[in-house]
Symmetry: D3
Subunit: 247 residues, 6 copies
């Protein structure tokens, strides 16, 4: 089975972190296909950047979806997920979605813990969009700068462990979702210092992709996630324009 | 006062309908600046198209925001509104937002009535994003084809009146929001055949733009709608890339 | 256009503050008609006083509604608003309603900031009645006495700025609603010291009244805001009794 | 123990129905003190009438509260209940409140069944105010005229049984609250024809009054139901004005 | 009238506390029948123990329900209540249910105050199951050990008064529910040191049992609380197995 | 990896259906260990039976948890899941939980479709307990008898397809969860006749068990799912009593 690991950010180093984490838990027969956004910003951290990243994710999926069995949109708040699920015939899983749903099986409420306060508003909208507010004990973010997006997980490991622990004691979280693609791989290194289960979203996402492929769900032909009817367009990248036109 | 009437669809005819409706209620000193999307689809009707349209709206605002006092994103479910509000220093109002908030002052719950079922899922997500579920009695859509997006309001006037009336009697709606840019101008023609107040979103939006400009709110420098810090980007249209870079 | 600015409190000085604030943003053709409650309490601050003030507001509207195009019930938690909207054929807008709905267009969630803790319970019930809990980041009130209801805005300006700033940093508010008729006019004086947009409710209310009059909504003849059928009564003030009897 | 049975409507015949129903279940030592509103409307059925009735209820309680151990505000949607509970030192129970809370002990969700559609909006607001939406399966009302408020329960018995049965089969109600003071006494006559438990609100209210008196709860001196501080007033009935002034 | 006071814990000393508190407010004709669980744990304090206690409660009710007019499941979070209500023909009331519903008549929101943090998760699930989240200001628990379950109320009286007071000032509670069967009898001893009404759950439960018996509700034969159809079983205690089999 | 497939019902035939469905998607290295309840009812279908089944599930887990890497509680509404998760050190997954969370990745809202109306109330409580109400479009059940629990899926295939289709068109479901252990295996047979993705809960559960085992979450030592402190007990089956005592 081939799984597209689609990074809607332009940072190759973050793609590498995501792929390493996903590979560490992937089943023997799972082949990962990591791709990095050709346009956009190095790291999505605002509503505006998420809209842009969502459109870029659709462009990337239009190019690659026929080569794989499933795709992961590998930025925490799942830019473009709804549109992608509606448009393409393969299972598409969001990084946040996989992390949150997996955390639901490990306790009553999960906390989302991340490395910069800039991400909070977008992450909260993501929780609401997924209808997960009843399961989310809160979003906690460090309120300090960082040196490099590719190594922020290493740099802030101590601070994130402390923050996760506060989420348990102060917010009554039963599980921790370490959020943000750059934190991929951190969970396994700090799990024994946090008193509740910790979820690595890239790892969770690849297992959920494997689960969906194994279950072989059909593409909806009714309901709100059926493929929209063909439509002309102007000025879109060729593959996306063609797919929207029904190609 | 100058108000940008930004149509994120590529249909010039819909822009004309929006502008006519807005002008019919604008105050003497209000100058409308209608613009039509240079790229995208003729009429946004799915989650995927909304993501694309949202990105296009940001590109258009990056080009034009410095020429006006306020902007209206003139597609019903407000594509890109959150990003736009965060990014630009002028008030930005969504078509759906203006229609729904205005309807709130006319009764307890409003119903959203539109011309094609394809729009329902996106509209429902819009209601949820605005936190308006407690005020929304439902979304009702015709379930039939139409001849031309530019004249659908005329073509379907009878059917929409019947649907609005059912929203009152069956869903307990106290007000009707006629939704979708192509229905601009219809409300005033059918108001006397619907037993509760009917809101024309383009008309409501221009009045809300005037209200916000008169109140002169400052641009947030804190909270979740402060302008994001400057960031490099790759491959974005020049004006948007420059603005995201802090220009 | 004539707009009744109905103060359901008996304090003439508060009526003057409301009128000044409203006039500062009113359009050229808008004539304000300020009136002060002839009976009741100087300043409504409890559920019991709100019930009494609501009944007084209906009595005042029965006397004056035929002289104006719209009315504002100018006490923050909108006493009697539902009954007034149902009973009279003109648009009736609440002070809290106008402030909250306007704030919705300026960010994700607003905080309500007021000058005395006595007002909190009533204000919270008002937020709930309007179905605005999803948009309200909290109600914050000073917990200290004040010298004079007519000058409390001046006296407490510093403390209210500090409280509003805490609502932004601690409650994640994106906008501030300065609440309570006696704070009318304060927003414009302190706006540059609060890091998010600040709404003056009297100013917002007059703009919303202008918007509704321009949109010319019909009076509901169905739904829950149609005028109730005529009914006899005993012991009510003459104008209200006559109107309830269908006059 | 003496319990004030306060009818905020002006109909003596309805007061008699309430008293009969309450007496049929009252404990041996419970003395009922029925009183009828001296001003207002014969039967409250709209938001406007509820505001007026709420103010009248406060006036009546100011006159009589020192003569009794507890009071029942005996109109279904509990006009003035919040203000009364805050203002007076005795337990005050609402007719709707007693009916709904009692029904909660008889199943998962209750339906409110009443005799005229005019009451629906006010009843729904009452359910929301009490925070009972999660327990309420719906409000169902007959949509037809009736001959006389004093005998409507008899006249409509068949139709109400049918409506209650539909609430069970269609809305999944586990219990029925027969709502509206004029239906007092009906529950016991029709209970065996409705397949789930049926609550008579007047009967429930007197039992709840007895329960509260037996438990001897203190009057709050903190929280949102403490008595408001003394305040001057103008033009209120003597007893209410004196009590608000701290008398 | 006979009321079964069913303690699903195995502690006889706690049964005695419950019975004392209930007797102190019971009406003259009410005879209490206290019973203690023959198997299970001394004091239920976790989800697992609640499941076990719920099954034991059903076994006890199968043995005794035909001897009484109503039953109280006398552990705070009401283990087995739903099943009991569905299975047996008499009114069954939960300790938490009685405490919370009674508290609803004493203010807007109640706080649940208890003696050990181990109880919090189970208590929160109980509040949610009863649909009471909108009325609950929070659950507050002491975070310290105690000497003996039979005297914990005496031992911790000071600390619980302090905790209840914080619930009023910090969580805006209008009433306090002292939770946990071992705290039975404490409310009356500390009521004058807590500034809002305090509810003793055992006392509230007996009054609610009396109310329900007086109202004589029928057993549901439809809806979700009708008795399930007869079913064979294996390995259940004789009385319960026979009752499930339709006996 | 070994996965306990724990059927809390006493029907061996249903265990066989569950095991067949799970095996059809299990990864090569996954060994299933099916077990059937030694006491209880043949098929849980009410709140009372669920309480009993939950206690039985804990007893079975106490016996077998040390032999496996994860466990599935294989009755749709997950009896005893919370207690099991808190008590035992291995991942425990519920059948309903796995079905619902998997369905969340296939659309916006799922409908639960089952074969008998008796299951509805319990299933609805399950949805609420999991905090999944925002994602659930409804519970739909056939309202007719069936011949044999072991073959009900075959017998009712047509009717269930029709019901699922109605859930799509009338309730706006984007995915279908076929609910109830006896329907295991049906999804793959009818998937092409239902226009949206259909989830087989046993299949989903085994994939989720595999995912959790691969992610190696730690057992919580804090939060609400830490193991409760040791406690004595009376009359419990030996293994469960010993484990509760800390063994």
């Amino acid at each position: 089975m081939r799984v597209l690991l689609l990074n809607p950010n332009t940072s190759e180093s973050v793609t590498a972190l995501l792929a390493d984490s996903a590979r560490s838990v992937a089943a023997p027969g799972t082949e990962l296909v990591p791709v990095t956004a050709p346009r956009g910003v190095p790291y999505i951290a605002s509503r505006a950047e998420a809209v842009i990243g969502g459109a870029v994710a659709l462009e990337m999926l239009a190019e690659r979806h026929h080569e794989v069995d499933a795709a992961i949109i590998a930025a925490f708040a799942d830019p473009g997920l709804g549109g992608a699920r509606e448009l393409f015939p393969i299972p598409v899983i969001g990084l946040a979605e996989a992390g949150m749903l997996t955390a639901c099986m490990l306790g009553g409420r999960f906390a989302i813990v991340t490395f910069t306060a800039a991400l909070e508003p977008w992450y909260r909208e993501c929780v609401a969009w997924h209808g997960m507010e009843a399961r989310c004990a809160g979003v906690r973010a460090l309120d300090e700068g960082f040196a490099d997006i590719a190594t922020v997980g290493e740099e802030k490991a101590e601070a994130l462990v402390a923050l996760a622990t506060r989420a348990v004691t102060e917010d009554r979280a039963d599980a921790i979702v370490l959020a943000g693609a750059p934190l991929s791989g951190l969970a396994s290194r700090v799990a024994d210092r946090i008193p509740v289960p910790v979820v690595d979203c890239a790892a969770a996402a690849v297992k959920q992709a494997e689960a969906l492929v194994a279950l072989r769900p059909r593409k909806a032909v009714a309901g709100t996630y059926r493929r929209p009817p063909p439509k002309p367009s102007v000025g879109l990248p060729e593959a996306l324009g063609r797919w929207i036109a029904g190609g």
